[in-house]
């Protein structure tokens, strides 16, 4: 069974209780934020801050619209971080769809940061390893819902079976359309095979307004590196090893006494 998290951004009141719950459950050190002229707690995600409620301001119909979004790992079906990771066992796709970082196996190369189309993983300057939302895999493994879901006071956040949540999200966007938001819809980008974090957006045709990429996918260079480049390298290395070995077997070493050329023997030998 694939599990998922549904974020109905239209119900978010920006209370940030989910941020606190995340920090508490995952035992994260609190870092003093910076004031950027908004109600956001932090300007960005951090290695010890995995869940940020973004207060996106959007100019629309002569007024300002506040678009809340929950910036966190999307737990993609086809995860760019996992595709880019060179360390076996450092990034794991769990059977329930969770993309989990196993810091014991992480080598700290940061390739996942580059591979992620949502710019989520963060390198810790102290441990030199990478961290992000684990979908509270230590809670879901024993049948509990993630900490952020547990604490959300408005039911903006729902956790459950993915197929069921997709149905709920579709129904909710239909409701929103009827309520005067014709652009309402579900954010479940197919470029990464769908995500296990789903959004209901009032302005679904403009996910960028929420800080979400319009068409995320695994980067081409990562696919090249993990695909054709492996074949090219294997061919070149083994081809050269085999080629030079066979050359030796067929022709042997260069030998001045055998491969010399009489017509150039005009050079006097020194010993003579």
């Amino acid at each position: 069974m694939t599990v998922a998290k549904l974020i109905d951004t239209t119900l978010c009141i920006g209370c940030k209780a989910c941020e606190v719950a995340c920090q508490e459950w995952n035992d994260q050190e609190y870092t003093l934020g910076t004031f950027g002229g908004t109600y956001q707690t932090m300007p960005d995600l951090a290695h010890n801050f995995w869940n940020l409620i973004k207060f996106n301001e959007m100019e629309r119909d002569g007024g300002t619209s506040w678009l809340m979004s929950k910036y966190q790992c999307m737990h993609c079906a086809e995860a760019g971080c996992l595709a880019a990771c060179p360390a076996p066992g450092a990034i794991v796709a769990r059977p329930n769809g969770t993309i989990d970082f196993v810091q014991d196996n992480c080598i700290g190369c940061g390739y996942c940061i580059t591979g992620c189309p949502f710019d989520v993983p963060r390198l810790s300057p102290t441990t030199k390893k990478v961290y992000k939302c684990s979908l509270c895999s230590d809670r879901t493994a024993v049948g509990l819902e993630p900490a952020c879901i547990k604490t959300c006071p408005t039911n903006c956040l729902t956790f459950g079976e993915r197929d069921e949540l997709v149905r709920i999200a579709e129904a909710r966007s239909t409701e929103l359309k009827a309520d005067g938001f014709p652009d309402a819809g579900v954010y479940n980008p197919q470029g990464v095979g769908g995500t296990n974090v789903l959004y209901v957006l009032k302005h679904a045709s403009e996910p960028e307004q929420y800080g979400l990429p319009k068409d995320p996918h695994i980067p081409l260079s990562v696919s090249l590196w993990k695909g054709p480049m492996k074949w090219l390298g294997t061919l070149m290395f083994w081809g050269t090893i085999l080629g030079t070995f066979l050359h030796f077997v067929i022709y042997g070493p260069q030998d001045p006494s055998k491969h010399g050329h009489p017509e150039k023997e005009d050079e006097p030998r020194d010993r003579a």
Binding site: C106, T114, S221, W225, F237, H247
Partner: protein, 210 residues
């Protein structure tokens, strides 16, 4: 193997030998650790050298040592690495060289055209590896577009570099007897010099005619 009274022609002085073997050792280390990061199937190479986390820290430094050594080589050798008219003909007769048909080859100087090509290909791949390597070393300070390009270009340059070094190792060990002694001990015998590098040999003879 060598008689005590044999004539020795100095080929590589101590400075050149040290710079070559510093480059070789750092290249070997960077290759093993790089291959470990390149493919999960070769990850055991990294495990043998201290584990993934350790080699992520050391691989860039071995690359820096290698790049510096290539820089030292460049200062020492670049002036003599230009292709002359004979070299250009030589390159068109690579098949004659490979099949030991040395009579068909124009004479080579201190370095033959193949060695010169190795030199310039190493200069080119090292520049590429160094530039992309710096980007991959400090991902948190680099723009994503550069990181994305480097993820593909770094291994591509490495494939070119490692392939040319595999040929180099074959040439320096099995294919051309006594060339290893030239790089380890620094000298060659006249017969070797006259056969492999006739123009260089003539220069030496002209300056040593007593």
């Amino acid at each position: 193997m060598t008689e005590p009274d044999e004539i020795r022609i100095p080929r590589f002085d101590a400075y050149e030998r040290v710079m070559h073997w510093m480059a070789a050792l750092s290249f070997g280390y960077a290759t093993l650790t790089g291959l470990a990061i390149w493919s999960p199937k070769l990850y055991w190479m990294g495990t043998m050298l201290g584990g993934g986390f350790h080699i992520r820290g050391t691989h860039p430094w071995s690359g820096v040592v290698f790049a510096v050594m290539i820089g030292v080589m460049f200062r020492r050798w670049a002036a003599g690495m230009g292709l002359d008219a004979d070299d250009r003909v030589w390159l068109t007769r690579l098949h004659n060289y490979a099949t030991h048909d040395h009579g068909a080859l124009p004479p080579s100087g201190r370095f033959n055209a193949g060695q010169k090509m190795l030199f310039w290909s190493q200069v080119a791949t090292t520049l590429a590896l160094f530039a992309t390597g710096m980007v991959l070393w400090f991902p948190e300070w680099m723009p994503r577009s550069l990181r994305l390009a480097s993820i593909a270009l770094h291994p591509l340059a490495a494939i070119g570099s490692i392939t040319s070094i595999l040929v180099h190792i074959y040439m320096g060990t099995a294919a051309v007897p006594q060339s290893m002694r030239a790089m380890l001990r620094g000298y060659v015998v006249p017969e070797w010099a006259r056969f492999h590098h006739p123009k260089w040999y003539r220069e030496w003879r002209a300056s040593h005619r007593s």
